[in-house]
Amino acid sequence: MSSSETSMETTIDKDLHVTFTHMMYHLLPNPYESQEINHLTLAYFVISSIDILNSLHLVEKEAVVNWVLSFQVRPGTTDDPNNGQFYGFNGSRTSQYPPDENGVFRYNNSHLASTYCALSILKIVGYDLSSLDSESISTSMKNLQQPDGSFMPILTGGETDLRFVYCAAAICFMLDNWSGMDKEKVKDYILNCQSYDGGFGLVPGAESHGGATYCAIASLRLMGFIEDDVLSSCNSSSLIDLPLLLDWILQRQGTDGGFQGRPNKSSDTCYAFWIGAVLRILGGCNFVDNKALRGFLLSCQYKYGGFSKFPGEFPDLYHSYYGFAAFSLLEESGLKSLCSELGITNIAANGV
């Protein structure tokens, strides 16, 4: 920041954020134990943040690879490949139990979201996914797909909504193997989630929501149902009501410059990613008032690093990650560019 600038923050303090995320990398503070079940997700937030902040040299890549791989659940030697199990990754040690003598996991708590996070982290640290025993992940994923096209996150049961549709699509994309899902059924489910106002809800009938809309559009893009930069082309997508979606999405930017998740709600840092990424995918980034958005995000920047949900509050890992991701979408200098539909940097997504 040059001395001729005003005293208002106009750039993010990258060094502070690197220190913040590096501290998290070494030890997650005690309050995060209440989210321990999502340990891999927390790790994804930390490591992807460090990557976006162009500081991957701070990460011990081999240790990360070994740690992530230790969460994988593989079929045992006596396991029938058609036994209805899902062979993915556990999300945490509290849900992970050792296999028996035949390598059979009697307690298989592998989870779609953890699997997405595991693969993302592996890609970030440059691990070649073709080294992974991924066939069992891909084929067993169909055991999680529901008759209406949605996905259950774990075989022992759980809510089925667009979040896990997204995880499934991202996993298939990263493994370049779509045998684990019936794509047409998934597409139909997603379309059923488009609300009367153009946005997408988490399940059919639910209120349209920024996060759900990201899951919908990113999934459709990953599956190849939306072409790149679709707004620039003269043929608008007939799959979804694109003009209605665009109008809804752009109205999410408030007078404070930030993005809200739903109409008539407060602006929140994370929607700068959820909404911003949708616009990036559709080719509508320049419809955002980037200056105003930066202003809002900077008001959520914490003086010792990280971002909070609302201005003037304490930071948390989730909002910090999406704050960094949002600044990457804003092409902040010093940050790596982001692959919007995968939620990792472009270098991580496409390999070195």
């Binding site: 998290m24 990398y25 030890l27 997650l28 503070p29 005690n30 995060y32 134990e33 209440s34 989210q35 321990e36 079940i37 340990h39 927390l42 790790a43 490591i47 011990e60 240790a63 070994n66 740690w67 992530v68 230790s70 040690r93 509290t94 849900s95 139990y97 050792p98 307690y107 708590n109 996150p153 022992t156 049961g157 759980g158 809510e159 609300s195 009367y196 106002d197 153009g198 988490l202 399940v203 009938g205 639910a206 209120e207 209605l244 665009l246 809804w248 752009l250 109205q251 930017q253 007078t255 410059g257 739903r262 109409p263 008539n264 709600k265 509508g284 320049n286 419809f287 008032d289 105003a292």
Partner: protein, 333 residues
Amino acid sequence: MAGIIEDENDDRVPISLRPEWSDVTPIPQDDGPNPVVPINYSEEFSEVMDYFRAVYFANEHSSRALSLTAEAIGLNAGNYTVWHFRRLLLESLKVDLHVEREFVGKVASGNSKNYQIWHHRRWVAEKLGLEARNSELEFTKEILSIDAKHYHAWSHRQWVLQTLGGWEDELNYCNELLAEDMFNNSAWNQRYFVITRSPFLGGLKAMRDSEVLYTVEAIISYPENESSWRYLRGLFKDESALYVNDTRVSSVCLKILKTKSNYLFALSTLLDLICLGYHPNEDFKDAVEALRTWDFGEQDSDIARTICSILEKVDPIRVNYWIWRKSRLPQVA
């Protein structure tokens, strides 16, 4: 183990000192040789999960195991492994699910934005069946009385209506919520849900007329309310011709434009109507012109282009969008 911190709850008796657990050997967590992004666990957390590991691995179905799941849930309400095991115990121990429902209610009051709690609540309700209907509607109503936009509560309520019924009073409930806060977008969404899916109301076509009347009144009361404008459009989903030709829609736009106040959505709605084929008369052209309080230079005779120009000025956050919309308008002859 790294990072053990002092317990703050001095009343808590460690499990290792509880006589009813004396025969169980806790299984410590195996973090592996090089844990990455380690968590600074408290002693309490480590101990509870070490004992949970023991009973889970041994597949022990007992009331002490059930109590232990409650303790574990208290420390990490999102732990789906613990919740799943709890469900297995509830079934094998034949626990009264009405009691369990109370338990979930208590946990929810501290952790209401947690997917696993709501999933468990749904599981209990499914097991109880139709008799659970009223209590579930009541429960969600209580949550919504504190936070009328609570996403999980609305999701659960929609599931209850679809699975267990109770549609009769739902439109009325929406009326109440909207009377309290016309800007509650969740209530508008629920309204749409009810009129399109309630077996008692006849569907969107049958309800359209009365809903247009309701929505137009709402728009007149608060023309700056995005929710009502979107709802109005939604009433004509997949029926653009009806939307364009319904004089009540174009009339409310004109009415708001004439007030010269809070007219953003009126303008953009009129623009959308024109793009869908509406031909505004002189009244509209005059009303739009009256909003143009600055000099463009050459006056644009095309009302759609004028609307875009005004929006570029009065909705500056979306200036690039309105410029783009203008560029996509059919060329004026």
